[in-house]
């Protein structure tokens, strides 16, 4: 094939695919800036004739979007922080501390990755109901405080730390906790960033468990609020698009800022798995 034609084809195809990937998101942004009702006209407009922030104002003033945004931030933030602590400690133990049955236990945990999370949801709901945690922030947070994936990720990363480093500290008389905090944690910084972004994004985007456990509107996260809004206000295209922007933008920005860490985690978590 003619090399110029080949280059043209490859890049044309790439641009085409990129356009398909991003156009729905750009349309969302554009429609969110249209005056109410104007997206539902023929021919459907691509850009707002007179851009306005009215939809965002309506969302925050009337639909309580501020509250949902804070709920999402609080729940995802708490899950990311707590899961970081649990997963770091467990991943470190599996990588660097010797104990009887270590490999067997780890293999069992990895095997459990095959169990879909939804299998646990019905009894989990009953458990939390008897504990009085249904429709509370805690109910949305507690099941996410440790993840099999996170433990695996930390273990993979921590294994590359030389044992000699830890042994030297032990000979110097450092306690196990101090070794973990002062020697291990600084070395684990990259995986801490990766894990935090991963867990935060997953928690932010999660739908089914919050839908089950958060029964009252006052506790809704953004995806729940959006799903219930679209059932009530499905005619208000522009309002719904503004709601989608508010939901998607934070995670998109977070991803763009920490892309390298996120993709590293994705590869570490799946290529060797």
């Amino acid at each position: 094939m003619n090399p110029r034609l080949a280059r043209w084809l490859v890049n044309g195809a790439l641009f085409g695919c990129a356009a398909v990937a991003v156009l729905p998101l750009l349309w969302m942004l554009s429609a969110s800036l249209m005056p109410a009702g104007s997206a539902s006209s023929l021919p459907p407009p691509l850009l707002p004739a007179q851009p306005t922030l009215d939809n965002y104002r309506a969302l925050f003033a009337r639909a309580g979007m501020g509250r949902y945004l804070l709920n999402s931030l609080a729940i995802s933030g708490a899950i990311a922080a707590l899961a970081l602590v649990c997963n770091l400690m467990a991943g470190y133990a599996f990588a660097k501390l010797r104990f009887a049955g270590r490999e067997r236990l780890f293999r069992a945990l990895i095997g459990a990755l095959l169990i879909p999370a939804q299998v646990a949801m019905l009894p989990l709901f009953l458990l939390l109901k008897y504990a009085g945690l249904v429709n509370s922030y805690a109910g949305a947070i507690v099941p996410g405080m440790a993840t099999l994936f996170g433990i695996y990720l930390v273990r993979e990363f921590a294994r590359s730390v030389p044992d000699e480093l830890l042994e030297a500290a032990r000979i110097d008389g450092a306690g196990e906790w101090r070794i973990f905090v002062q020697i291990m944690l600084p070395l684990l910084k990259p995986v801490m960033v990766t894990l935090t972004v991963f867990t935060f994004l997953a928690a932010w985007n999660d739908f089914m468990w919050p839908l089950i456990v958060l029964t009252g509107q006052e506790h809704y996260t953004l995806p729940l609020a959006l799903a219930s809004l679209v059932r009530e206000h499905s005619e208000d295209t522009e309002l719904m698009m503004a709601g989608s922007v508010v939901t998607v933008l934070p995670v998109l920005v977070l991803f763009l800022a920490l892309q390298r860490h996120y993709l590293q985690g994705l590869l570490l978590g799946s290529v060797k798995g």
């Binding site: 641009f15 990129a18 299998v119 009894p123 196990e176 994004l201 995670v251």
Partner: protein, 292 residues
């Protein structure tokens, strides 16, 4: 303090969380599926009865379960190959020495993956709106008749599949791209010297080298696609005519709309069993293929 005890102390928080909020509930689900746990039992646990495999037997005779199972298999069997095809296609494009602005394209192509399912499903609802959606408008420009994408039982599932492919292909694209980049360039070098065409290089070097990655991607994607829930919940509410009711959607309805926890647990376990069986089958096929 002994080394072993230290290790267990470090493990305790994570194991406690996983144990109480995952492993015990999984076993509980198995137990629940053998009972008639419903609204009456929820009100007073003394109404609970052990029914053995009754729930599973009922499931097999329930048309809606078979419909949901059929819909879910439709989604998996059509959606997974399309998804992986899109991932492989874009990964090959990104890996091409001719491609420009690779980092930019990679980011843009990956962007849908990090977006919130519910939010982007809402976008698609409007893009595929029968009257005002841009998709039907584009069809009209081409002189084609409008399609009632989400309102026609024949089109609702294909629309959801298109959405899922758009949303998810970037994930496997990154994994496959890493697989492609791990192929030693000397292999292509040698093939070129032997005069092998581009297609033959792809067929005899790229595909075999990519095989382990492909198997992994396939297993993960199949397991993930069996868990279809949020898309129909937001886009079609399981309709029209239950054409997009998935197994998990059924579990959700049985459990949290009708409070039939016994039946819903049986649905959940049936899905788990199916995912397990299909995963084992795929791995066995992959192993046999590798040996051949």
């Amino acid at each position: 303090m002994s080394r072993g005890r230290t290790a267990w102390l470090f493990l305790t928080p994570a194991l406690l969380v996983l144990g109480v909020f995952f492993f015990v509930p999984v076993l509980g689900a198995l137990g629940l599926s053998l009972t008639d746990y419903d609204l009456y039992a929820l009100a007073d646990i003394r109404n609970l009865r052990f029914v053995g495999l009754h729930n599973y037997g009922e499931l097999l005779q329930r048309p809606l379960f078979w419909t949901a199972l059929g819909n879910t298999f439709y989604f998996v069997v059509v959606g997974v190959p399309l998804s992986i095809g899109a991932s492989l296609g874009t990964a090959l494009l990104l890996n091409s020495p001719l491609a420009r602005m690779k980092a930019f394209h990679r980011t843009v192509l990956f962007a849908p993956v990090v977006t919130t399912v519910v939010a982007v499903a809402v976008i698609w609802r409007y893009l595929f709106n029968t009257r005002y959606g841009l998709v039907n408008h584009a069809l009209a420009v081409l002189g084609l008749n409008p399609v009632d994408w989400l309102g026609d039982p024949h089109w609702a599932m294909p629309t959801i599949i298109a959405f899922a492919v758009w949303k998810n292909f970037g994930y496997n694209m990154i994994i496959l791209l890493a697989g492609l980049q791990a192929v030693p360039p000397e292999l292509y070098e040698a093939a070129r010297i032997d005069g092998a065409s581009r297609w033959r290089q792809f067929r005899h070097i790229t595909l075999p080298m990519l095989r382990p990655t492909m198997v992994l991607v396939m297993v993960l994607t199949v397991a993930g696609y069996f868990q279809l829930f949020a898309e129909p919940y937001v886009m079609t509410e399981g309709g029209p005519l239950q054409s997009t009711t998935s197994v998990l959607y059924l579990m959700y309805d049985d459990g949290f709309k009708w409070w039939n926890f016994g039946v819903a647990s049986a649905v959940a376990f049936a899905l788990f069993g199916i995912i397990l069986a299909v995963t084992m089958l795929l791995l066995r096929l992959a192993r046999r293929g590798a040996a051949a």
